[in-house]
Assembly symmetry: C2
Homo-oligomer: 142 residues x 2
DNA sequence: TTAATCTTTAGAGTTAGCTCTAAGTCAAGA
DNA sequence: TCTTGACTTAGAGCTAACTCTAAAGATTAA
């Protein structure tokens, strides 16, 4: 059993246009076609799409995703490169998470700031709450 | 005391080109110019840049950042909108963090997978370790 | 004062990742 | 069989966010 491009697209939350674009970019060399030229996505192809989505979702550019797919197609000799790619991507994800954590602190500060401002209808927040000014200095020092 | 565009750029990790681009896009209405037409960034302007960087870093498009800056320039009447924007952005950041967490699980699975593959020089990982197959099914089921 | 190194503008060019169109082909239900 | 809707390709167009260029003016160190 296999899926049309529209069905596959729905299953992974993309459009058929996007899947064709990925195919054109060489990201889907594993997708076979029927005798009449229609793409037929297998269950295994859907799993490939999910891995592509995972890598894309963590900020890996399509070119590097293609590099990974190419390695997969080349066979067992490229296992070390693939392992290395995932290790690098894990590092990248953890760096990003730390960055988002820092951004979140600043956003939380802004929420406190504007909550007080909204309550009083003006921006004299630091006069009312000097501790918040200290927090601001700490958060925006670097 | 104030900073030239090049100094300001260095302080926030952007290029002078990018700062000029932001200015052209209306993101830096607060930056004043000297009598001879050079931009002079104050300490306060540098803080604005850091907030812009924070919002950009959490994925807010420049257009929406401009909207926020515009609200700030309009005065106290827009405090509720600004508060709301940060609350929405906090939601967004937390959704993203959850997504990255899920991606990270998949990446960790792939690392385990390829570590075993690298050790044995082939991809018969699931035959050697059926538990990993179960983990794969769990992680990629949706 | 002069040379080197900024900075200014307007505007063109680039990159990534889609997104859509046109013109035609294929498949499934009435 | 006919119609409707999904599929095919090549290729154009789009958006966001830069990135760079050219030509001219400003600043700074020797």
């Amino acid at each position: 059993m296999s899926y049309s491009i529209g069905e596959a697209a729905k299953m992974v939350g993309l459009t058929a246009h996007t899947l064709r674009f990925y195919d054109k970019e060489g990201l889907l060399p594993f997708v076979k076609k029927t005798s009449s030229g229609l793409r037929a996505f297998t269950e295994s192809d859907i799993e490939w799409l999910k891995i592509i989505e995972c890598l894309k979702g963590t900020g890996l550019p399509l070119k590097q995703i293609k590099q990974y797919i190419d390695w997969c197609m080349e066979g067992d000799a490229t296992i070390p490169q693939r392992l290395n790619m995932f290790i690098e991507q894990k590092k990248h994800v953890e760096e990003q998470k730390a960055k988002w954590e820092k951004h979140l602190e600043k956003i939380n500060f802004k929420i406190k700031y504007y909550e007080d401002a909204a309550k009083h209808g003006d921006l004299n927040v630091f006069e009312r709450n000097p501790k918040l000014l200290e927090e601001k200095k700490r958060l925006f020092k670097d």
